[in-house]
């Protein structure tokens, strides 16, 4: 049977771990509020640009943009958004599982995959799994700047322009609520225009100032960038929420462990006392 000193030591070490996890839980809770605010602030822009893009898709443009063009797919690119830090439960792994499943599905259709990775965790994971990585953006922090993502997006869009890739998927966690995060794999390119509304006249086009090509290139690039940015800040909110839950569970589990160990400690202590007593009684009887 274990001796009291050992059990005491174990309890002390679990208690200090519990202190750390509960502190991390509180940090995550306060950061979660901030990241959620950032996520909500970014929404109006992404909604408005989506509106504009859907109008553009309805217009009979003189210049059909390559992002709308359906090519026979040979290669697809996955933009995977993950967190920079761990200790957030199954958040990243659940997403990676979906990405791998989708990639395997495409592989069966004879479509190769390559990856553009955002976040240290994705970079580490896809390095160990193996797979063609075309771009990485790491350490964006809690308040990512849209500028930090432009490079990565440009690499993907350039590859699409050159015909190196025919499809692009955006993989990230969607924020449902604090308890639930939903891993999503969405098709980015080719863009799928939404259903045409009946009420709008079908024969019209914009006046473009300056050229349609230049403008649409810029606008659609900005649209893709805004989608990626929105995915990153949403993923951030998910990370903090998941971290808070994970740390809360860890703190609760540590509490349970401590309770069990305290019971064991008392048992051990009592057994030791009983043994000592019986030894004394035995000794007295012998005399």
């Amino acid at each position: 049977m274990a001796n009291t000193k050992e059990v005491r030591k174990q309890i002390a070490s679990i208690k200090s771990t519990q202190k750390i996890t509960s502190a991390m839980e509180m940090v995550a809770a306060s950061k979660m509020k901030k990241t959620q605010d950032t996520m909500l602030e970014g929404r109006p822009y992404s909604l408005k640009i989506k509106d504009v893009i859907s109008h553009v898709a309805l217009a009979n443009s003189e210049y059909p943009h390559p992002f709308y063009e359906e090519r026979t797919p040979k290669k697809a690119c996955f933009i995977v958004v993950s967190s920079d830090k761990g200790l957030c439960g199954g958040l990243n792994i659940n997403l990676f599982k979906q990405v791998i499943a989708k990639s395997a599905e495409l592989n069966e259709q004879g479509i190769e995959s390559c990856f553009a990775l955002i976040g240290t965790k994705a970079a580490g994971f896809f390095k160990s799994v193996g797979g063609q990585v075309i771009a990485v953006a790491e350490k964006l922090g809690d308040k990512p700047n849209p500028d930090d993502l432009i490079g990565l997006t440009k690499v993907v869009l350039d590859m699409h322009k050159n015909g190196d890739i025919d499809q692009a998927y955006l993989c990230s966690n969607g924020f449902v609520n604090t308890m639930t995060q939903q891993p999503n794999v969405e098709q980015l390119i080719p863009l799928t225009p939404e259903e045409k509304e009946e009420s709008l006249p079908t024969q019209w086009d914009y006046i473009y100032e300056p050229e349609a090509k230049e403008l649409l290139d810029g606008l659609l690039t900005r649209y893709i960038e805004s989608l990626v940015y929105q995915a990153v800040i949403e993923n951030n909110a998910c990370e903090q929420a998941a971290k808070m839950i994970a740390m809360k569970n860890a703190t609760d589990n540590a509490g349970d462990l401590i309770k069990e160990l305290e019971l064991l400690y008392n048992n051990v202590r009592q057994a030791a006392i009983t043994q000592e007593l019986s030894e004394i009684v035995g000794g007295a009887a012998a005399v």
Partner: protein, 137 residues
């Protein structure tokens, strides 16, 4: 009086949303005036003011570039960064302009020429917005 819906958003926040009788903006090809019922238009925005007129009231915003979409009943400004004109500070703008000019003059250093001239253009546009606003008051 007929009005047109106007939304101004930047990537980090919603700046303005409301009705207007007239909207003025600085397009890449020059100044635009948009009245309700305007034909669909898509244009780039240059750094400069966006003014929203509703009857006799007028509000001004500074926009450092982006896109403008016009539908007959709706104007959407997708700005890279936008600020309410009241929050613009003239001394700050002048400082930014001087700094940009200095960087441009200092060509031999390993500086990004395109970036510096973009900064200069933005600072000048900021100043213009402020001055225009002053005149109207």
């Amino acid at each position: 009086m007929s009005t047109i819906k106007i939304n101004i958003v930047s990537s980090s926040e919603e700046i303005y949303s409301g009705e207007a009788t007239m909207v003025y903006a600085t397009g890449t090809l020059g100044e635009l005036g948009i009245a309700p019922g305007h034909t669909p238009l898509l244009t780039g925005l240059a750094a400069g003011p966006v003014r929203v007129q509703n009857g006799s009231e007028e509000e001004a915003f500074f926009c450092s570039g982006g896109f403008l979409e016009v539908q007959p009943d709706l104007v959407t400004v997708l700005s890279d960064t936008a600020e309410r004109a009241e929050s613009l500070d003239e001394s700050e703008a002048i400082k930014a302009k001087e700094a940009a000019e200095q960087e441009l003059a200092n060509k031999d250093a390993s500086l990004d020429y395109a970036k510096a001239s973009a900064q200069l253009a933005e600072a000048v546009a900021r100043l213009k917005t402020i001055q225009k606003l002053r005149k109207n008051q």
